[in-house]
């Protein structure tokens, strides 16, 4: 940009006055003067606002800055956050009860924001890329449908899409009792949300992960060695396939080794129960139900099943539960789970006779057994484990338990954000791919590069340079729009802060915290964007 100043006209006389005047009327000098005046106005304005606030805070919300001892001080602005929250969060990611503090409630909300936001970011990237590619499909129908999707999504407000998805689609799904199970898989889709099978890591998983790392190293070594041989001999050696096979072999060896060596899981049973190893359970249950074969358990009536069911205590959200119950289900033994919040609670249940066995890691059980009145009357039965165990959702009464469960609200917000932002992303992806000129593709073919090489070496590096900056702003907008969880009652940060505000009446304090969180999210994304832009400097043609 050109300079704004007009250089002062040459002084006609050399008198001091005209010299001074020529300096004073210099635009640069006036500009600086104006900015100083502006700073003073800003500071004065801030002072006025602050004094207004101080006056009004006393008038409008007397308790805004009350300390616990009843005195009034600005330093006590955030004291109320230690108070008991007193409200429930329907979908708290961490252990939360309404007796926890406001801070804890807010923290749960922040985690929820990130949970739904980051998951939606991943899903948006996938769906947006697919839709962007579909826009350029050679199949007319696919291209037109992708176009219709993009146009419809981009021309309607996210809020209304969310409301439609939540109220007209999710809440219109069948009741949990008749949950949809697509293709008969253990996936339960109902108006309460979605339950998915979810892998849980057992304690032996660390050993398995070591094997996986070993496999990865093997892959890398093989890749380099065979690559060198390829260079020397000129023969193709299928190094990808050999590497993958080697990896699978090592991973499965690791699986068997770590599951046979592992001895971490156990069952706490009474000595009188005659359970000495896990197979004994089957015999005991057979005799209790009065049947001859495990298959006959299925023929029992519901009441009978309930009556004979094996009563199990477990810790809530522990991996020991699926590890044990999966085995029971494999033997088709009916069982009844009692989930306790803490080991002591579970042990108490066990002592009271609410359950016959208590499944947990051996270390926990050993510690608990020591607290019992007569440790000698109890023993720990080992259970086999695998490094990873699938927690499979299933019916328990009228509820689906287990696996990874998304509430309907979470699901609606997740789907809504994903569908909305993927529509925008599709256009960005398309623009990125179109920005790579056709000559580049032709040149790559002329050089004899394979299709994969062409994509990897020629098209993607150039397309990504165009796609990634808008992609990052899309992510940022998505993170900010998680605040629309308010519309579908998903307890993310904004909704929780609203509840906090209604309960405590501290508007300013809460607004400041949520602004800070959102600003730090956007700052992170800006830093990311700047870092990427500085790395991939656009070369002007």
């Amino acid at each position: 940009m050109g300079q704004i100043s007009a250089t002062p006209s040459p002084p006609t006389s050399n008198s001091l006055v005209s010299r001074l005047a020529s300096y004073i009327f210099d635009v640069r000098f006036l500009g600086v003067l104006g900015q100083i005046a502006f700073i003073i106005v800003l500071i004065l304005g801030a002072r006025t606002l602050f004094s207004n606030f101080a006056g009004n805070a006393a008038k409008l919300g007397e308790a805004q800055f009350i300390c616990r001892d009843g005195s009034f001080s600005y330093r006590c602005a955030y004291d109320f956050m230690d108070n008991e929250a007193g409200f429930d969060i329907s979908d708290a990611p961490l252990e939360y009860t309404n007796t926890d503090s406001y801070w804890w409630a807010f923290y749960n909300g922040v985690l929820n924001t990130f949970r739904v936001g980051l998951l939606a970011v991943v899903a948006t990237t996938i769906l947006g890329t697919l839709a962007g590619i579909a826009r350029m499909s050679e199949n007319w129908l696919v291209a037109k449908i992708a176009l219709a999707y993009v146009e419809i999504i981009r021309n309607t407000p996210l809020l209304i899409q969310l409301l439609l998805i939540y109220f007209s689609i999710i809440l219109a799904l069948p009741d949990i009792k008749e949950a949809v199970q697509p293709f008969g898989l253990p996936i339960f889709l109902s108006n309460r949300g979605l339950n998915l099978p979810w892998p849980l890591l057992m304690s032996s998983a660390s050993a398995w992960v070591a094997f996986l790392v070993l496999g990865a190293i093997q892959f890398q070594v093989l890749w380099i060695l065979l690559g060198k041989r390829e260079e020397v001999t000129g023969h193709k050696s299928n190094r990808l396939i050999w590497g993958v096979i080697g990896f699978i072999v090592i991973a499965s060896i690791g699986w068997f080794v770590s599951s046979s060596v592992a001895d971490n899981e156990g069952l706490l049973v009474a000595r009188g129960s005659r359970i000495r190893e896990i197979e004994d359970i089957e015999k005991i249950m057979l005799s209790r139900a009065g049947v001859n074969h495990v298959d006959d358990f299925k023929t029992l009536s519901d009441e009978k099943r309930e009556e004979v069911a094996l009563k199990i205590c477990v810790l809530r959200d522990s991996a020991s539960e699926p590890n044990f119950t999966n085995k029971l289900r494999a033997m088709s033994i009916p069982y009844d789970v009692d989930r306790a919040g803490s080991p002591d609670r579970a042990t108490a249940d066990f002592v009271e006779g609410n359950c016959e066995v208590f499944a947990a890691p051996k270390s926990v059980l050993a510690a608990e057994i020591a607290t019992l009145e007569n440790p000698g009357a109890h023993l720990i039965v080992p259970i086999k484990e695998t490094p990873v165990v699938w927690h499979i959702p299933h019916f328990e009464g009228f509820n689906v338990v287990g696996g990874y469960s998304m509430t309907g609200e979470f699901f609606a917000l997740f789907i809504g954000l994903t569908v909305f932002y993927a529509g925008g992303l599709a256009e960005e992806v398309r623009a990125g791919i179109m920005s790579v000129s056709k000559g580049q593709t032709e040149a790559a073919r002329a050089l004899g590069l394979s299709e994969a090489q062409r994509l990897q070496l020629i098209v993607l590096p150039q397309a990504l340079r165009v796609v990634i900056p808008p992609l990052i702003s899309t992510y940022l907008s998505l993170m900010k729009d998680t605040s629309l969880g308010l519309a579908v009652a998903f307890p993310e940060m904004y909704l929780i802060s609203q509840t906090l505000l209604n309960q405590s009446g501290r508007a300013l304090q809460i607004m400041i915290i949520i602004m800070l969180v959102y600003l730090s999210i956007s700052l992170t994304f800006s830093v990311l964007l700047n870092w990427y832009n500085s790395r991939v400097v656009f070369v002007e043609r």
């Binding site: 207004n52 199949n139 696919v142 309607t156 407000p157 007209s168």
Partner: protein, 557 residues
């Protein structure tokens, strides 16, 4: 007979020439492992869908499949026996070019048919359209569209009392008439014969916001007809503005324009007061506005207000004024830091209760940090610093936070401690938000103008105002038409968010309608209606902007 065999033989030969199983399989199935897997999976999915659909709706599925098969037959006939028609050629190019494409076509046909028949079934076949049959106990299983007619008053104007409806209608008629006028005025034949018509329509458009305000918000009748002090203050402000613009050579003065400028304020003021006196348009509480009316008001007002503010912010962000020099900033900052460290920190430090408060007691050091970043990033350029910080802060937080802040925080910061009307609070918050985004758009447009244009304006001796008024902005705004249209649509769409802070715009009033006993639970109908409404308006605006772009010749380079 022989001719027939001969003809057949010929066809067979061409067939053999045109078709080779090996190549066909290689191209469509066995070319690579990935292709084989993809086609197999696709085949299985399509087959599964077909079987499921056959169970759900046999007739529809069979007809679609037959059409699809007929299409394949046409393409095969065309390809192998040279019997192409335009249709079969199109089908071959676009829908049935390979085995995988053919399968995808059938799959999508079946899925689209299922979805659209589901919507049709709900929205038309089993729906009722009678506005008297909307109560929960007499509804059919499909949509109950009667609610749209039954609740039309609420949907259109919300809680506005019915006695004012004629004013809303009048405002709507005014806009339509004006639009027609400018439409007629821009026709080439009319433009040639009656050029003044366009001038008139522009002037009327400029007056329209005031007229709309009088119609929709009304004027409170004042005690005295003319307050001399208001009249004179206004006049002085107008004349000062005129003088400033004249000084910077943005406007030129001739007797007519001087007369217009001088008379504009007194005449306008007088007319305003007179209309107030007549009591024709008694004031309406702005928080009574609702429904579509409020949505439209938000969309238009926020767009109009944020546009100039956005341009200002963008210009501020690019302003290249001489910054406050370091020799001035640093001493002041250091003195302020030392002063507060000496006076404020000890007191805070001694009374602090934990480490965080001890850290906060050192807040004067923040002055130094701010000064450092101010000098480093902006070289003392306050205009730029202010614009950048403002824009980035606003863009960093979600819109509803800002709206909520505007509503909740306004009474805390006002001098009297009284709440301002929610409507005005939301307008302010929303305009600020929209302006920050607009500023980034305009900045993009300004950056797209070649540097030579700026330099040319400088070398011609234009001052800043002239440079932007005559050289830069006309070009930048033309480039900006598509993104501005996008932003206008965005503002219109996002205006639905005001419902979340308790305003009764379209979405807000619809939530009220759903809760009303007569229409209890008729969500999907109303949401679908809003969905379509927003879609139509947004697509309309983007279509219009594309047309505008074509007309200004920007598309042609």
């Amino acid at each position: 007979m022989t001719t027939l065999t001969k003809a057949f033989e010929e066809r067979r030969k061409t067939f053999a020439k045109r078709f080779n199983w090996e190549y066909f399989l290689l191209d469509n199935l066995t070319g690579s492992r990935a292709l084989t897997i993809w086609v197999t999976v696709l085949f299985l999915v399509t087959l599964g869908t077909f079987i499921v659909q056959l169970g759900v709706a046999p007739g529809r599925t069979l007809i679609l499949t037959l059409i699809w098969a007929a299409g394949i037959a046409m393409v095969v006939a065309g390809e192998l026996f040279g019997l192409h028609t335009p249709i079969s050629r199109w089908l071959k190019d676009n829908l049935l070019s390979s085995v995988s494409n053919t399968l995808v076509t059938l799959l999508i046909l079946l899925l689209v048919a299922q979805v659209s028949s589901g919507i049709w079934h709900w929205g038309y076949t089993t729906a009722t359209f009678d506005s008297t049959r909307t109560a929960p106990d007499v509804r059919s299983e499909g949509a109950t569209w009667g609610v749209l007619w039954g609740a039309r008053k609420l949907i259109l104007t919300g809680t506005l009392s019915p006695e004012h409806t004629w004013r809303v209608v009048l405002a709507g008629v005014m806009v339509i008439v004006l639009w027609l006028l400018s439409f007629i005025a821009t026709r080439p034949s009319i433009k040639a014969s009656m050029g003044y018509l366009q001038r008139i329509s522009i002037i009327l458009w400029l007056m329209a916001p005031i007229a709309a305000y009088i119609l929709l918000a009304g004027i409170a009748p004042s005690e005295q007809l003319i307050s001399i002090s208001t009249l004179l203050t206004g006049l002085v402000i107008v004349l000062a503005l005129m003088g400033l613009l004249w000084f910077f050579k943005v406007i030129t003065l001739d007797p007519v324009s001087i007369a217009v400028w001088v008379l504009a304020w007194p005449v306008g003021y007088l007319i305003w007061q007179l209309i107030g006196r007549t009591g024709l348009f008694p004031p309406i509480n702005v928080d009574e506005w609702g429904g579509l009316l409020l949505t439209i008001i938000f969309a238009i007002a926020v767009n109009l207000l944020s546009f100039p503010l956005g341009i200002l912010l963008a210009l501020g962000r690019r302003a290249d004024v001489q910054g406050i020099p370091g020799w001035l900033v640093w001493p002041v900052a250091i003195m302020a830091t030392v002063y507060f460290l000496a006076t404020n920190t000890p007191e805070l430090w001694t009374t602090s209760r934990n480490n965080i408060e001890r850290l906060l007691a050192l807040w004067p050091l923040l002055i130094l940090i701010v000064a450092y970043f101010y000098m480093r990033a902006f070289h003392g350029n306050l205009v730029q610093a202010f614009s950048v910080v403002f824009i980035e802060l606003i863009r960093g937080v979600p819109l509803i936070t800002l709206l909520f802040m505007a509503i909740v925080m306004a009474p805390f910061f006002s001098a009297t401690g009284e709440a301002i009307k929610n409507f005005w609070a939301v307008i302010v918050g929303y305009t600020i938000f929209s302006a920050a985004y607009m500023a980034e758009l305009v900045r993009g447009g300004l950056q797209a103008i070649p540097k030579g244009q700026y330099e040319a304006a400088d070398s011609l001796g234009f001052n800043v105002l002239q440079k932007y008024r005559f050289i830069i902005l006309p070009q930048a705004l033309r480039i900006l038409i598509p993104p501005l249209a996008g932003s206008v649509i965005g503002t219109f769409k996002s205006s639905s968010l005001v419902a979340l802070v308790g305003m009764f715009d379209l979405v807000g009033i619809v939530r009220g309608i759903i809760g009303n006993g007569q229409w209890l639970g008729l969500r999907s109908e109303l949401y679908a209606f809003m969905f379509v409404l927003y879609f139509v308006v947004s697509s309309g605006v983007s279509w219009y902007s594309r047309r505008l772009e074509e007309r200004t010749g920007l598309g042609v380079r």
